[in-house]
Amino acid sequence: MKAFADKLFLNIFHIQAADSPYLALWYVLMMFLVSFILLNFAALFAGIASYVERRIAARMQNRIGPNLVGPQGILQWLADGLKMFLKEDLVPQTADKFIFRLAPYFVFAGLFGAFVALPFGYGIVAADLNVGIYYILAITSLVVVGIISGGWSSNSKWALFGALRSAAQIISYEIPTGLSLMLVVMLAGSLSTQSIIESQGGWPWEWFVFHSPFTLAGFFIFFISSLAEGNRVPFDLPEAESELVSGFNTEYSGLRFLIYPMAEWANLWVVGAMVTLTYLGGWQIPGVRLETIPSSVLLFLISITIFFIKTLAVVFIVIQLRWTLPRVRVDQMTLICWTYLVPIALICLIGTMIWMLAFPWKSVFGTAIRILMSTVGGSVMIWCMLRARHNYVIDKDRFEKLKGIPAWYPPWKLP
């Protein structure tokens, strides 16, 4: 960002930024601008994601979903958010009032802090930290502080349950997350998010996920454990609605409650972007090495689009999982982590090391395996899509045959 700010300064004022007496002021100004943009992006994404998730869920359940607030219900998230904003802000009498009020901000800071190091396209990142991955892992851990303090200070047993579950869960799953990220760091030789993407390529066989069987396993471990860290189904234990009423946020209302779901949906983007940038090739355009050619606006835009598409695809899968799977039990949650994910991640780490030495990136065998794996992976994806299409057609047929019994129309035939 610093380089970008300097360049912008030069373009606007035609002096080197370093020579200007207003350097500090300029940087502060830029900082505010960037954080304003990021915050807005995150909040907007959280809002729209909530609407989209409800529509997808409705479609999966043969419903329609919110469609009356604004055109096709697109303003639903705005109404929800503003309503919560203005609702009475209750603080239970027996709560630890200071911590109760403070807790949501930890969650807020933790998640929105992660956006600083996340790239959006070639060269578009608020701060290309040289410890980017490490920074994201560290700052998202603040979330658990917020959840625990929120649950504990509510002085409600349900909230306490949720908070303690969350503590066990997020701290356990830090380990497989970290280990599976190590694979990528090892392959890229850097912790910076941009250079991890730069060391991958645009074609699927140049992504880290298909580098070797070990990285494929690592990809799934990373995906599962980031679901767990984001409290998504099947790991939504901290707020398990049917068990703990509403988990750690049981006693929250109004604006303070609003922050929790907002952070949860913003976290969707963090999960999607992290998976994309570490394993799925980030913003790389197939056949083009962006760092070797002169920059052009078109390529910038294409790289942003590619990054967004990949991220949103991951987000879509996460949403689909949420509305399909049941929730695991709390002991199974820790069991999955400690007896499966951690050992497998360790094996993958060692395996990848050996693979890297035995079959370097450009070796024939390594490339052949990469191409083979990516072909198989792609075919599986396409098969899944065709299967979904097939089921959809069957479903349509099936309800045709029931004409006369129902006073009900499938959503796609609503009068």
């Binding site: 869920a57 999966m60 359940q61 043969n62 419903r63 047993k157 349900w158 349950f161 303690l164 579950r165 189904v233 099947p234 939504d236 398990a240 609605e241 049917s242 068990e243 009423v245 509305w323 399909t324 799977l325 049941p326 929730r327 695991v328 039990r329 709390v330 002991d331 199974q332 099936r398 045959k401 029931l402 006369g404 019994i405 129902p406 006073a407 009900w408």
Partner: protein, 388 residues
């Protein structure tokens, strides 16, 4: 101490409350809780996530139906029976009608019996929809539940075409049923069954064979056959423990002996015999059998009267009877004492959920809090049936 009030006062202090457990947390679970299936309350004593005990506290929906029966004429009591078990109202209708018919020695026409069987089995399917779907919902999977709601709407439509109500049918009458089947209804029911039978497989693919779901239910809250008998479990819960008592077979009431169907038993599908998964799976399998019965009944249904000639103001001689049917939640009994007037002297309704609730205290020991939900869901407890 002749005064009952004083006696009660004395009894109340006979057993003082147990001393609070040390290093244990007691948690008030319900009555307003998303997975208590109505208004049930449990005092859960836990040590962290592990539960030491869950003490059920019922009566939040005690509506005094038994007392109301003493104030209501026989024919007027039918709507109340709907509300005894709103998920399977037909069975309560039937058991009450059977009791009165037995006392008043009324012969029910064959066609009425067949109609009763058809609607009862449809109702059984509808009830198992909620039982199995709500269990999935409690374990965190929303979509299967909504899928069953979608299918349930078709049954509601069929019922509505038949008797005009979606939930509390009030379809049966003493001596038969209220209205005959409309001409196009058999076709509708058959089309629904054709549509529905493949959906069971789809549902199994969606949730029954889901590994997380299986792991959540298998080997959880195992009820041994001995416990099941001791605690008086009935119906699918009892059969899941491997005891094959189905009143449709053992008593052979109504016209059930005419049909060819199997009684699915629990056999430890994915874990121990009598675990939560068995109780779930028995219900899924029962749906298929109900479809079979409906198909046969629609084939064999005779013509003729659908209702015997019964006086409007029915008076019954002094007598008593205990009639039972196999409801969706197991044996449902009505103990009816008549005294020669037009209203019952005493009517006691025995339900499956009441006894199923009493086992919670025993079966919940040592489970986790999340398993309690699986236990309640798999027992398929409905609040009004517990409290009446």
């Amino acid at each position: 101490m002749k005064n009952p009030a004083k006696v009660n006062e004395a009894i109340r202090h006979l057993k003082p409350q147990a001393a609070p457990f040390e290093e244990e947390m007691s948690l008030n679970f319900g009555p307003q809780h998303p997975s208590t299936h109505g208004v049930l309350n449990f005092l859960v004593v836990t040590d962290g996530e592990v539960m030491h005990q869950a003490l059920p506290n019922i009566g939040y929906l005690h509506r005094g139906i038994e007392k109301l029966a003493e104030m209501t004429p026989y024919s007027g009591f039918m709507p109340y029976t709907d509300r005894v078990d709103y998920l399977a109202a037909m069975f309560a209708n039937q058991v009450f009608a059977m009791a009165v018919e037995s006392l008043a020695e009324i012969e029910v026409p064959k066609r009425a019996e067949y109609l009763r069987v058809i609607v009862c089995e449809l109702n059984r399917i509808a009830s198992h929809f909620i039982a199995t779907g709500a269990l999935a919902l409690d374990l965190g999977a929303v979509t299967p539940f909504v899928q069953w709601l979608r299918e349930r709407e078709f049954i509601n439509d069929i019922m509505e075409a038949l008797c005009g109500a979606r939930l509390t049918y009030n379809y049966m009458r003493i001596g038969g049923v209220s209205v005959d089947m409309p001409g196009d209804l058999p076709d509708k029911i058959l089309r629904f069954l054709d549509h529905f039978e493949p959906i069971i497989d789809e549902y199994n693919r969606l949730i029954s064979n889901n590994e997380i779901f299986v792991k959540r239910l298998a080997d959880v809250a195992v009820i041994s056959p001995i416990d099941a008998v001791n605690f008086g479990l009935v119906g699918p819960n009892l059969r899941a423990s491997g005891i094959g008592i189905d009143l449709r077979k053992t008593l052979g009431y109504s016209v059930y002996p005419d049909f060819d169907f199997e009684v699915p038993l629990g056999k430890g599908f994915r874990g121990a015999l009598g675990d939560a998964y068995d109780r779930y799976m028995v219900r899924i399998l029962e749906m298929t059998q109900s479809c079979r019965i409906i198909r046969q009944a629609l084939e064999k249904i005779p013509g003729g009267e659908y209702r015997a000639n019964v006086k409007k103001k029915l008076k019954v001689e002094e007598n008593e009877v205990y009639s039972r049917v196999e409801s969706a939640r197991g044996e449902m009994g009505v103990y009816l004492i008549s005294d020669g007037t037009d209203r019952p002297y005493r009517l006691k309704i025995k339900t499956g959920s009441f006894t199923a609730m009493s086992i919670v205290e025993k079966a919940s020991q040592g489970l986790m809090v999340a398993d309690l939900i699986a236990l309640i869901g798999s027992l398929d407890v409905v609040a009004p049936e517990v409290d009446r």
